[in-house]
Symmetry: C2
Subunit: 231 residues, 2 copies
């Protein structure tokens, strides 16, 4: 309808919006490319000019929802400097935003589980998005008032991201109404993480902290697929 200059960008975003709506309404598997194309008024093959695959449509959503997430927590992080509250808010909101699109998330996770897929969260292709995502956790840690053990502090953001991945995994499997159990899990694990960090500050815990950090460094999650050479 609306005739913008970039006709292509127009159909692209139209396809995207129709797809996301249908995925949410009918589920990912129950929505065929032909349905999306028909509603967008183009040929089925045409979608592939704009998106490389059906899953790429979900990946697009994943990207955009990250921006939503940033906006949603931005103000909060500016004023609240307590580590526990920051972490809790960020992870909770991540799930809240995704909640209406659980079925899409499931579909994405299915492809993500394939290491060969460019949509895998650990892949080279999603590196940028992963780093952006981890940057949020850096902000949580580095701009909080809390003290952290200096060695721990460096590795922490990447593993808070992994913690969030774990929560997302639980959420995907969670069938309780409104994913109530996932939110309970967040409520109970976030304080644990905080407590563990306090513990790490104690000089007595060096004998457990050091070997753990060594493993975390040596098998860094960001280098699973492209490990650095051993030093």
């Amino acid at each position: 309808m609306a005739t913008k200059t970039a006709k292509s960008e127009n159909t692209r975003s139209q396809v995207y919006e129709i797809a996301v709506r249908l995925f949410a309404e009918r589920g990912f598997d129950q929505t065929s490319m032909r349905m999306i194309a028909k509603e967008a008024g183009i040929a089925a093959g045409g979608i592939y000019y704009h998106f490389s695959s059906k899953e790429a449509l979900v990946f697009e959503y994943y990207k955009r929802s990250h921006e939503d997430h940033l906006n949603q927590v931005g103000d909060f992080l500016k004023s609240e400097k307590d580590f526990q509250k920051r972490l809790h808010k960020v992870v909770t909101d991540k799930i809240l935003i995704a909640e209406p699109y659980k079925d899409m998330a499931r579909a994405l996770f299915r492809v993500a589980a394939d290491p060969k897929s460019p949509l895998s969260p650990f892949s080279e292709e999603s590196k940028e998005l992963r780093e952006e995502s981890q940057a949020l956790f850096e902000e949580i840690v580095f701009e909080s008032n809390n003290k952290f053990h200096s060695d721990v502090k460096k590795e922490l953001p990447a593993y808070l991201w992994l913690f969030q991945m774990g929560i997302i995994l639980f959420w995907i499997y969670d069938t309780s109404p409104k994913s109530k159990r996932t939110f309970q899990l967040i409520d109970q694990t976030v304080p644990l993480i905080v407590e563990m960090n306090k513990l790490m500050l104690n000089p007595m815990s060096g004998f457990v902290r050091k070997p753990i950090l060594q493993v975390l460094k040596r098998f860094n999650i960001n280098e699973i697929q492209n490990p650095k050479k051993e030093v």
Copy 2:
């Protein structure tokens, strides 16, 4: 060829063997049902009388390989009673057995990531296999010479199983030659688990042990999809 009484069981196992061979030779995605059928000398549709889906063929392998695993570690567990050595042996052998079939494991993982799939490791359908698998870790813990904190001891086997799942996940992504890095990861994480267990015995660590155990109990991995009611 060999004319047994149960003709059906014959074709079933023939289909299975051909499938597994082709999956290992050419990869899961590069092997079509028609290829398998052709080599087995039956119609493509016929496979579905014996196996509910392509992935079910891999699931069958997964089942059988569990028995291989049990046999392989059986003697060792009878003689060696040191917890660390037992755990290390079991997890290492799990990967060693699966190593030639990594591509199949990837395919299985892809479906497993879908909570709706009966092949998901947390599903009701795979409950039996999961419990069998966890029973092995019970044996590791309960028939070792080591001491464990009594509360920890109850929950430990299920979470050692989860630890093994984590190792498998790492292995699936691991592209190093002969999956060398995965074995290094096992070498370095197993002692950590042992160390943590020792730590839990210390009465001083109650303040961290108790909340952790509470979370583990409340969000038991075996009840993700079918949670018990809150008490």
